[in-house]
């Protein structure tokens, strides 16, 4: 069956809340019902029909065509099905998603995958700051699922992450894995300063090391561990490039000793 397509008419005048456009909320809706869904975030009402040309199809396979960093909350709390965005999106893409597959064929703004529970999110371009991180006041960030960023990511990737896996194929900003509670980060290229800042538990893998390592991480030597093989096998289907990081033994740094110190950073042995 053909996908349900939303084509952006023009750059929106205001930020749009796309959270109603997820498969389980669109199931069973008619074309007119879909066109009437409100997306505006200001006093000026904007509906789906105003912003998008809609081509009806299977709501389990949504396609959003057109690129704007004003498209917020794409795939918010999605449970199943697939959403493919052909272009950039705004903030909080895939926030609280608990299943299905979200593909952003472009760049994503900050807080993508924020509080994600399960499912997969792929961003072919760059991701903004606080990928997977919590919003202000929340205790934990990402809680499950897999996020793959094909290009670079901003600061604080995996902030307060509790479970799940984030793979960044490009470079990542400072404080990657800050305040991590658990989970796994694989950063293929150079990371910014102080990865694992105040992390309690969890695993960060740095394919090319980082600019500055915190002095509160303790060198535990170079090891070839079974666990990194299992991780490599898990990462490979999502990103063969990131899985190549595990080809040689890695140095294990334990930390952050400023807090609990049960986390770890793996980096190249040299």
């Amino acid at each position: 069956m053909k996908p349900l397509v939303f084509s952006l008419r023009a750059k929106p005048d205001q930020r749009l809340d796309l959270s109603p456009l997820v498969p389980h909320l669109l199931a069973g809706k008619t074309a007119s019902e879909i066109a009437a869904i409100a997306l505006g975030m200001t006093r000026h009402a904007v509906t789906v029909g105003d912003a998008f040309r809609v081509k009806m199809g299977d709501p389990q396979a949504l396609r959003i065509e057109g690129s704007s960093d004003r498209l917020d909350l794409v795939g918010h709390a999605m449970r199943d099905g697939e959403i493919v965005v052909e272009g950039d999106v705004g903030t909080r893409a895939g926030r609280l998603m608990s299943g299905g597959r979200l593909v952003i064929d472009g760049n994503a703004g900050p807080w993508a995958a924020s509080g994600m529970i399960d499912g997969t999110l792929e961003i072919t371009g760059t991701a903004g700051d606080r990928l997977g991180g919590p919003l202000a006041g929340e205790m934990a960030g990402m809680r499950g699922g897999v996020v793959v960023v094909r290009s670079d990511a901003g600061e604080r990737v995996g902030d307060r992450m509790r479970r799940g896996t984030i793979i960044v194929e490009g470079r990542s900003g400072a404080y990657a894995g800050s305040r991590m509670l658990a989970g796994t980060l694989v950063l293929r290229r150079t990371a910014g300063a102080l990865p694992g800042y105040l992390m309690r538990r969890g695993t960060i893998v740095l394919g090319e090391g980082c600019n500055v390592v915190s002095p509160t991480f303790a060198d535990c030597g170079v090891h070839d561990l079974v666990a990194t093989r299992l991780l490599a096998d898990f990462v490979r289907p999502c990103s063969a490039r990131a899985a190549a990081v595990f080809r040689s033994p890695l140095r294990r740094l334990a930390g952050d000793m400023a807090v609990l110190g049960k986390g770890e950073i793996f980096c190249p042995a040299r």
Partner: protein, 302 residues
């Protein structure tokens, strides 16, 4: 008893009576196949009979690096017990004492079941707080720091409540040598059958037992009807040409696995023939009233 004959080997028209058991399967890996094998052999030691060992254990088969979760050589082992709680106790004790301790080992679940037994979930406490939990997709592992690196152990393993224990073949030959040759041929054939093990030494039992004894405190005693040296003194089950009897006991994850194993064993014994091997095959039962699974030899002929 009515008998059938297949290529000169007499096969009794009787059945093996088997019982329902609880079981699980594990994969043990190591850097080298011999160390995976060593961990598996140690872990399945003293696991011949639930009567005295708590569990019946054995190696199902060896696995190539491609067949294991971590890409290292491995061995699949099966554990059988009479209750879920006893199986859990045996699993914990055997993996904790024999696999955790073996150089370079790792341990994974090898059975999907609706109910789970604790594997790493129990052993993780050995890590004294330094254990690390990792979830990769739907897999959950524990990493426990040990002196040669880390012991990786899957958190849980599946439990089956429909396993079958006590499938058996009684192999009768003219001499001890030919009987053993037939039993060994059967063991080799059954080793190739998946999901089934033979828990006794090398797969063979020479001391088949009957229920009860003349002594009050003894629950099982020698099966005098099959002892060649008592042939004239008791109501013997042996023909005049039989000088030695060996038994193969089979436990399987399913009734089909036990049936397939018995079929493979009978085929191997028949193939060896009465001159070099066994002259007669029978099976042990309790009249059919105790065990729910009956494996009739006539249905398992080659």
């Amino acid at each position: 008893m009515r008998q059938l004959t297949s290529k000169g080997v007499r096969i009794d028209d009787t059945f093996a009576e088997a019982f329902g058991m609880r079981a699980t399967a594990l994969i043990i890996t190591a850097d080298e196949a011999r160390w995976a094998r060593q961990a598996a052999v140690t872990m399945t030691g003293f696991g011949t009979s639930v009567i005295g060992c708590g569990a019946e254990t054995g190696i199902d088969r060896e696995l190539t690096p491609k067949e294991t979760p971590d890409g290292r050589p491995g061995v699949r082992v099966l554990l059988f017990a009479v209750s879920t709680s006893e199986l859990q106790r045996q699993l914990q004790a055997r993996v904790g004492q024999c696999v955790l301790t073996s150089p370079g080992s790792a341990c994974y679940a090898s059975l999907a079941g609706e109910e789970q037994l604790k594997l790493g979930d129990g052993l993780r406490y050995f890590g004294d707080g330094w254990q690390v939990s990792k979830r990769f997709g739907d897999k959950h592992y524990w990493r426990i720091p040990v002196m040669d690196g880390e012991f990786v152990c899957e958190a849980t393993t599946g439990l089956t409540k429909t396993a079958v224990g006590g499938g058996n073949l009684l192999i009768m030959g003219k001499t001890a040598t030919t009987t053993l040759a037939a039993a060994e041929a059967a063991v080799t054939a059954i080793n190739a059958v998946p999901d089934a093990i033979m828990p006794f030494p090398g797969g063979i039992v020479r001391s088949g037992s009957k229920v009860g004894s003349k002594y009050k405190s003894v629950r099982a005693s020698t099966n005098d009807a099959f002892c060649p040296t008592l042939r004239g003194a008791v109501a013997t089950a042996l023909d005049p040409d039989i000088g030695s009897v060996l038994e193969i006991v089979i436990d399987g994850l399913t009734a089909d696995a036990v049936g397939n194993a018995m079929r493979a064993g009978i085929a191997a014994i028949v193939k060896l023939g009465p001159k070099r091997g066994a002259v007669r095959i029978t099976a042990g039962n309790y009249g059919g009233k105790l065990g729910p699974h009956h494996f009739h030899l006539k249905d398992l002929l080659p």
